[in-house]
Symmetry: C2
Subunit: 469 residues, 2 copies
């Protein structure tokens, strides 16, 4: 019954108790009982909204078809590297991007504040934590979600003016997306809220050495096809959100001939190779920028109920929907079930944070967990559960991405394009896998695990869609 | 019943018809019907040998335990590179190693002859094909299986004096093993019997540039742990016989910092990076040398029925058994079921060839196909069959290798150490996956597929074991 509600105009809505359905069926009417779940968890208001939207079944269906076709047709290619100030339109020296929906300095969680402190010290705007806190609270800075600048950043997502950023072009539509470079070589990483000298050294090296070197190489190569790397990595045990061993290795292997031929000091090349050897998350930010360029191309289709962004700032989770403009539909950020790195425990854990859920929005990450069963060693759970995630997510998505296939599931394509109607109807929440930041500034990563985007976001979006029609 | 025959002294041997077993069981006796297969395919002589060997059940069991423990404890580390003449003990300028059991020049198959021709031209011993053929037929050269020199080579397995070879040490026991470098960047590869100028160029570059460069790097690094790379690659979609995308990428990534710091011309490093980028089989020869070092350590245990080598020369297949010394037990090389590369068809295909089955002997390759379901695109068959191979091979092996686990099968260890008794008893033949060479010299690879090591080898070995006791 749950599926029928969205896929066609139902004859009888049977909520929960299947004996009623049986009696309808026995009488020769049209009733199918799929599972025990009542539509919209039995919420009468939501059932009425879902039924009302059924009046626009064909229009919404066509809009979603158009939106998801854009997503499937996208061809994200990494084309350039440059300082955020130079390459991201609208960026100013005072701009401070952060992950998730909008949040003020005062309301930011600990690790996001830690990352802002680290970034301000790196930018030379503050000489220590106290100066950075004072500047952040002064009203001088322009805080903004990364998403408002076509950008994405993992965890805190903090991007400031002189950080080098990855520039990705969706060659199909020409739209651009951006991400910073991964700072997660050590557990005390800027993205997770650490800001000590080791973090500063990585930021300085990324700005002065790695960024210019990779920019030179990628321009020399005429771009690198991130969709091709992602497709291969999904056949090599990566799910491209929290496992990037294959993609990072493939990226290095692809760039190495060009890097070796550049007129670079030997030691700088060795430093880059070292950094990529010891950071298995290196490709994460490329994956995210590729997914952002992809999902942006499916955004803005009137009547479409497809989710085009899911992001968390450590306090709130927000989603955006293709047919609902720039509005965020938010809920409190949930805790994460997972494995903590000793000596840390769950009481140290910040709630869910980061733009990296753009990967799940795009049908990979936890949606492709069946491709990466070894991940259960990082995030907990069983192999059967990991494989189950991919199958379950098919119930709330619009299409199967035939470019991203999972060999173990007989080359099933990844479930792509979350439909807010299906989430509300089935009660199945989008799964995400994620790192866990310490709730205080200065610590870094303390674990990894699994969580879900809260129902509240989808309910709010569904109501907005109903009101907009 | 089949398992019982080997694992304990059976009370009643029930061949085939289970109603007889039922009646025994109903009478309160000890009888178990596992499946329909009659032991040893119902061959009375073999059943008698199996039963006779049961008298030595404990001794053989202990010997196999000891042999497989050596295999599981082995730590193959790549330690050096040097010309075959310098690093392989007993090698002379006239030595020509080849794959599989012994074979004379006259009896060699087309692609093996092609590789010998190519090697003699490369060595400067012949200026063209005719001179090479004359030299090969003259009796001057010393042809020998690679295995007789603790070496292994894929397909033709031809190794001559000035070819650089990979030196692997099993750090647990100190024994060494060798392989040449992979020549399979192009379909027309020496190992598959091609010998034209492109092949010569690769051999010259490997001797003059790649070999010395990699030797310098690996010595500088103090060795590279091939067991660790194999273990990671098995979690990344490789089965480490015919899929090496992950292992090749991991190897390059691990060596790159050291390679970048060596005092080498920029262009040479770029050439190496290019070669490793465009040859997804690069790690094959490392995998083989690692497996050879591993299996040699389990060889020579008196009474052990564990297979320590399986190898094919394109005419015959041979196996060696731990407790049966240096003797080869042979059978005609079988054809291969698989996918041919157009325009080639099955009539172009040479029978099974190469030492690369040392990987299956060691429990990876087709034995680990569940780790590499994407391989069905290369070798044919279904994902379910690929996963089934790993499960079935557990029925003819002694141990589970907990260092080599398969995430999709809930981290099951690879099935390791083939027991000739189990093969004969169950009728289950060891699966292998392999490339297919053109049957004429000069062509190269024309397909890839699946085959099995023939029963005849195991029957001959079992009879020899029986006679030796």
């Amino acid at each position: 019954m749950t599926k029928k509600l969205i896929n066609s105009r139902p004859k009888v809505v049977n909520v929960g108790v299947d004996t009623f359905g049986d009696s309808v069926k026995a009488a020769g009417s049209d009733s199918v009982q799929v599972d025990w779940r009542p539509p919209a968890q039995g919420d009468a208001e939501l059932i009425n909204i879902l039924l009302a939207l059924e009046e626009y079944h064909d229009e919404i269906g066509k809009a979603n078809e158009k939106a998801v076709e854009k997503v499937l047709a996208a061809q994200p290619v990494w084309i350039d590297v440059g300082p955020a100030l130079d390459v991201i339109p609208g960026f100013t020296p005072d701009t401070v991007l952060h992950a998730g929906p909008p949040v003020t300095w005062e309301d930011m969680c600990g690790p996001m504040k830690g990352a802002v402190i680290g970034a301000l010290i790196f930018e030379g705007r503050a000489k220590d934590k106290d100066e950075a806190v004072a500047l952040a609270a002064s009203g001088t800075l322009k805080f903004s979600p990364c998403h408002h600048f076509n950008a994405v950043g993992p965890m805190s997502g903090v991007i400031t003016a002189s950080m080098p950023v990855i520039v990705v072009e969706n060659k199909t539509d020409g739209n651009l997306a951006y991400s910073n470079f991964n700072s997660e070589k050590n557990r005390k990483a800027l993205s997770f809220g650490a800001f000590d000298q080791d973090v500063q050294d990585i930021l300085i090296w990324q700005r002065d050495v790695m960024g210019p070197m990779l920019g030179k190489a990628v321009r020399e190569m005429g771009g690198i096809d991130l969709k091709a790397i992602t497709a291969r990595a999904l056949q090599m045990g990566d799910e491209c959100h929290n496992r990037h061993v294959a993609s990072t290795s493939l990226l290095l292997r692809e760039m190495m001939p060009t890097l070796a031929r550049l007129d670079l000091p030997r030691e700088q090349l060795a430093e880059l190779a070292d950094y990529m050897l010891h950071n298995d998350w290196f490709f994460l930010n490329f994956s995210m920028a590729a997914c952002k360029a992809t999902m942006d191309s499916g955004h803005g289709v009137p009547m479409s109920t497809m989710v085009t962004a899911m992001a968390r700032n450590g306090v709130k989770v927000g989603i955006r929907v293709s047919g609902l403009g720039e509005k965020w539909f938010t809920a409190p950020a949930p805790p994460i079930r997972g494995l903590m790195f000793p000596p840390f425990t769950e009481k140290d854990a910040n709630p869910d944070m980061g733009d990296s859920t753009i990967t799940e929005t795009c049908g990979i990450g936890a949606f492709a967990m069946a491709a990466a069963p070894a991940m259960v060693k990082l995030v907990g759970g069983t192999v059967a559960e990991a494989i189950g995630f991919t199958k379950t997510m098919a119930d709330i998505t619009i299409a199967e991405n035939k470019a991203y296939t999972i060999p173990t599931l007989d080359f099933l394509g990844t479930p792509t394009g979350i439909d807010i109607r299906k989430v509300v109807d089935t009660g199945i929440l989008p799964k995400i896998n994620t790192g866990i930041a310490h709730r205080q500034p200065g610590y870094g990563i303390v674990g990894a695990g699994i969580t879900e985007i809260p129902m509240e976001c989808f309910v709010a979006a569904l109501k907005a869609m109903y009101q907009s029609i």
